[in-house]
């Protein structure tokens, strides 16, 4: 299924072309990723693993793992990074591919050589701002990014960003911020941008090997290196965690927001950080049901406004819960959660099973900083920035990149000043949510308007305080930073700009109605709808509690913000509490009448590429007195196609589970390549692309 319409994204019409999958002729869109075309045709199983003939679904959708590999015209290719072309013959990969025949000689060519002052790995928010800063300081920069479009994960974010309007485009949607940054960097003469290109290795002779455009190999010499390669999603161990239909929130965003594929009917999301909360919102915007969000922690780690938004829309949040199994015939058909005790062990009597076809894992991110670690073994200057340095919001990555750019200029001998307030701003932007402060709201007297700020938690955000034409919304001034809560004082003409710009959709507008005992509440709404005046809407307070219904008076669509303002007539006494309307039917989130699962935690897969389970590793660890993660390679864990990108952080935990103290564990050695490269590309023989 495809997403035909979306409240935020423009869905372009692309040329329809034919291809075949295992002999069946199917339709896809020219140039879309093969994985998207397969998903759109309901195909989610890409290969059959040699271990237990397990079907393999998509996992990263980001070119990093190899789980989506299929045979395309006789060659194994990662479907998530291979554009679809007319007439492609695609087949399921069974176990290992055959080496394609073809004994004819092809001439090889040495790699292209490029030079620069600073190589920046990664064209997300921090990499771009670092490159821009270095360019401003007259350094030559080569910026390498693995995607077609720059902007990193911003291009997948349909929501408006938090942070500071002046420093990092707060109140603007991620997709738009990505576009702005991309345009800036492409217009800089000092910056050479290599898109669709992956840095595969940082070598000791101060050169980087770049797999360019999926067809050639280029060596880049540099004086210094900036690692801005972002983050990787953490994985989670539960039985069935390798079934097609279990993947990361990042992959989900790619499928839905980039590829416009309706990848699921109903998802369960594990993790109540911002990534999980936003994924739930993106799912609902794409017309996908969300059965719930689960988090083992007892508190939501993401922004409260994000969580409130999700709850209002009809999605339950299960705190102190974890997922204990995903099951189904060849794909996820149901998932079971259970409450956890104080040691985070599941209480099986509390198990609830949901009929979902997808489990999204959003249990946090880890810096993807391997190049930094490698570079430290050499003596050229190296710095890291953005999520590769520290997991934080894109807003802080933007200013963080700028700081790192300037620091690098200093390291390279340029006499330049690093304003201390840059770092102060960056620190504020990456602050974790602060105090939650309750406040009472009332209706204004007379027939005036008043914005109600359903914003109770101190987070770095200021768009509302910048947009009011009368400056009637200002930050409290408690700390003098953008962490302070906004307050309304003064005049309001009901223009609704604050509603439109608030990234948390946490502002409503109220006024008394002419009818006795009633009031009008205006709500921002980022969904496509067919509501007509007179319709009854289900009202929710900020925590998602039902407040009865209200009658829609008007619905105005604001094109610039792609947001509707719904004005609803409600009883006067609840008006200040109405924060949103229910969007998802309650059945979508209901568990099955009886839980239906097997509890087999040792069956959880740790190394996905080689399908090595928890149980297998525990046995090996005991038999071989393992303390060095390198020993686990004998089980083939971390030896697969992805190079241990997922299991490297899980393996130490298994060792600890087996009783090895954390301090005695030796990390596995790190080696190039970061991504697999065909020999013909290394030898620049051409011909990888059709």
């Amino acid at each position: 299924m495809r997403i035909k319409e979306h409240p935020i994204l423009d869905i372009e019409d692309k040329k329809t072309i034919s291809f075949s999958f295992n002999g069946r002729v199917l339709q896809g869109q020219e140039g879309e990723m093969v994985s998207a075309a397969l998903f759109a045709n309901g195909i989610q199983s890409f290969s059959i693993h040699k271990v237990e003939d397990a079907p393999q679904g998509i996992f990263c959708a980001n070119g990093q793992c190899s789980q989506c590999t299929v045979i395309i015209d006789g060659q194994p290719r990662k479907s998530c990074v291979t554009p679809l072309q007319e007439g492609m013959e695609i087949k399921t990969l069974v176990h290992f591919p055959e080496l394609p025949p073809g004994n004819e000689y092809h001439p090889s060519h040495p790699p292209k050589e490029l030079e620069c002052d600073v190589l920046v790995v990664g064209g997300g928010p921090s990499g771009i701002t670092a490159a821009l800063e270095l360019s401003e300081q007259d350094f030559s920069v080569i910026l390498v990014d693995d995607k077609e479009r720059l902007g990193g994960k911003l291009v997948l974010q349909t929501h408006k960003f938090f942070g500071s309007v002046a420093d990092c485009y707060a109140g603007t949607r991620g997709t738009e911020i990505g576009r702005i940054l991309e345009e800036k960097v492409l217009n800089e003469n000092n910056i050479t941008v290599l898109t669709n290109s992956i840095v595969a290795g940082i070598y000791s002779d101060q050169k980087a090997g770049v797999y360019e455009n999926q067809e050639s190999y280029t060596l880049v010499s540099f004086r210094a290196l900036i690692v801005a390669s972002g983050a990787r999603e953490r994985s989670l161990l539960f039985a069935g965690n390798d079934l097609p239909g279990v993947y990361g929130a990042g992959a989900f965003q790619t499928l839905v927001n980039r590829d416009h594929v309706k990848s699921s009917r109903r998802v369960l999301i594990v993790g109540c950080g911002n990534v999980g909360l936003i994924a739930a919102y993106h799912a609902l915007q794409a017309g996908i049901e969300v059965a719930g969000l689960v988090d083992a922690a007892s508190e939501i780690t993401g922004y409260k406004v994000h969580a409130d938004k999700i709850k209002r829309l009809g999605v339950p949040l299960y705190l102190n819960h974890t997922i204990i199994s995903a099951e189904g015939e060849g794909k996820v058909e149901r998932a079971t959660i259970a409450q956890v005790d104080k040691d985070w062990n599941p209480l099986l009597t509390t198990a609830k099973t949901f009929a979902v076809d997808t489990v999204l894992v959003a249990v946090g991110l880890n810096p993807a900083d391997e190049f930094y670690e490698t570079a430290l073994e050499s003596d050229f200057p190296v710095l890291k920035t953005g999520d590769a340095n520290e997991i934080a919001e894109a807003s802080s990555a933007m200013i963080g990149g700028k700081i790192i750019g300037r620091k690098m200029a200093l390291l390279l001998g340029k006499e330049v000043f690093l304003p201390p307030e840059w770092q102060e701003k960056a620190d504020i932007l990456k602050s974790l949510p602060g105090e939650t402060i309750e406040r009472k709201h009332t209706l204004p007297e007379g027939d005036g308007h008043r914005p109600i700020l359903h914003c109770y938690q101190e987070i770095p955000c200021n768009p509302c305080a910048t947009v009011c034409p009368f400056n009637s919304i200002q930050l409290s001034g408690k700390t003098g930073t953008i962490l302070d809560l906004p307050e309304f004082k003064g005049k309001c003409i009901g223009c609704g700009l604050c509603l439109l710009i608030c990234p948390g959709l946490a502002i409503t507008l109220v006024r008394r109605s002419q009818k006795e005992g009633l009031a009008e509440v205006t709500l921002p709404h980022e969904f496509r709808h067919q509501y007509k005046p007179g319709d009854r809407l289900e009202l929710r307070d900020r925590d998602g509690l039902a407040l009865g219904t209200g009658i829609l008076k008007s619905a105005r669509f604001n094109k610039k913000y792609r947001t509707s303002l719904l004005t609803v007539e409600v009883p006067e006494k609840i008006a200040p509490d109405v924060a949103g309307i229910l969007v998802q039917k309650q059945e979508a989130a209901a568990p099955l009448a009886k839980p239906n699962y097997s509890y087999l935690p040792e069956n959880a897969i740790v190394c996905r590429c080689e399908r090595v389970s928890v149980g297998e590793l525990l046995d090996f660890i005991k038999e071989n007195q393992v303390t060095d993660l390198n020993q686990l390679k004998q089980t083939r864990a971390a030896m697969g196609a992805c190079g241990g990108k997922t299991c490297t952080e899980l393996l130490p935990r298994i060792l600890q589970q087996a009783g090895v103290p954390k301090t005695e564990i030796t990390a596995a050695s790190l080696r190039p390549l970061a991504v697999e490269i065909p020999m013909q590309a290394i030898a620049n023989q051409g011909g990888q692309k059709k």
């Binding site: 080496l99 000689y105 070598y203 000791s204 050169k207 190999y217 071989n624 196609a641 190039p672 065909p678």
Partner: protein, 381 residues
Amino acid sequence: MRKYDIIVIGAGSVGLPLAYRLAARNLKVAVLDKLASAGQGQNKAAIGGIRATHSDRAKIKVGKASLNFVRSLKQEYGQDVDYVQGGYLFPAYDPEIAAGLKGLLPTQKAFGLNIGWIEPEELEEIAPGIKTEGLLGGTFSPDDGHLSSLKLAGAFHRMALEKGADFFFQTEVTALGQSRGRIETVKTNKGDFQAPLVVNAAGGYGRQVGLMAGTDLPVFPDSHEAGVTEPVQPFLKPMVVDIKPDQNSDNYYFYQNLAGAVVFCITPRPQRWGTDIRSTSEFLPMVIPRMLDLYPRLRYLKIRRVWRGLYPMTPDAKPIVGFDREVKGLFHAVGMCGQGLMLGPGLAEMIALALVEGEEDPEIFTDLSPYRDFSGRELLQ
């Protein structure tokens, strides 16, 4: 003070099988290694080829013993090390190379090697897809093979543990203590060990350990880089070795392992001396065009990982094995010249015999003596 019958310095290609052989003789064995677990030095950098096809008497003998031991691991010891008896193939496209390879055959056969010249048609059958244009034939030794160095280290480690050997990792030897010309203590960052017998099996660091006892062993490591591809269905059984030099490299070699991956390595020219094992940008552009020239079909294979390891070289490219003449009880087994994996299993039993039973095979212990004349040079390296 921890007291042992024997201390082995180095849990690598030589130290691991030796620890097993000694522990199996009921000796109280301590193995010390500065790294975190077994086989983490140059052993795991070995690409996995194991052969008796050398051109030197002692090395052929040791190689054959190694192969025998490795072949028995699965059946007799229950250890699967992914051994495949695929043979070693040395193709020739150049009359000079062909003549050189043919010239070695009488010597090799004389020492009991199963090796012979094969014609292009047969060679093509053994290595389907190899370049046929200009192919003159080559030598093939079907009794050689390949295995997983990782699994071999794991197997020997387990076998030694089972026999009661004690392993001390992250334990770096800092000094060797002597008393009246006899080895007495091994000092480490983790305290002292005592034993009447100490084996220097420190591989690339064998010279440093020798110097701790005042013996300067001519072991100087150079380094080679290697790589491994994604796995594919089996298509190639033997190790293919192209010994024809190029502008900036000497021989290179590759094979498909039991897991399906192609593992490859090249000898750069000039040699890169020293102990730096960080990967360089030169390796892939050096080796891949050569491999694709010889075997065009490999071009579709994706390279997964690269690494660099040391070849602890000696002046005559032969190991140094034998008792130290100055320090009694100190035995050296170093300078495997990048062939520790294929020599270690065989040497282990010979060394154990010498150390415990006092039986020294003269062919081995004369030819590989630390005090030999190092000016000779093996023809096939």
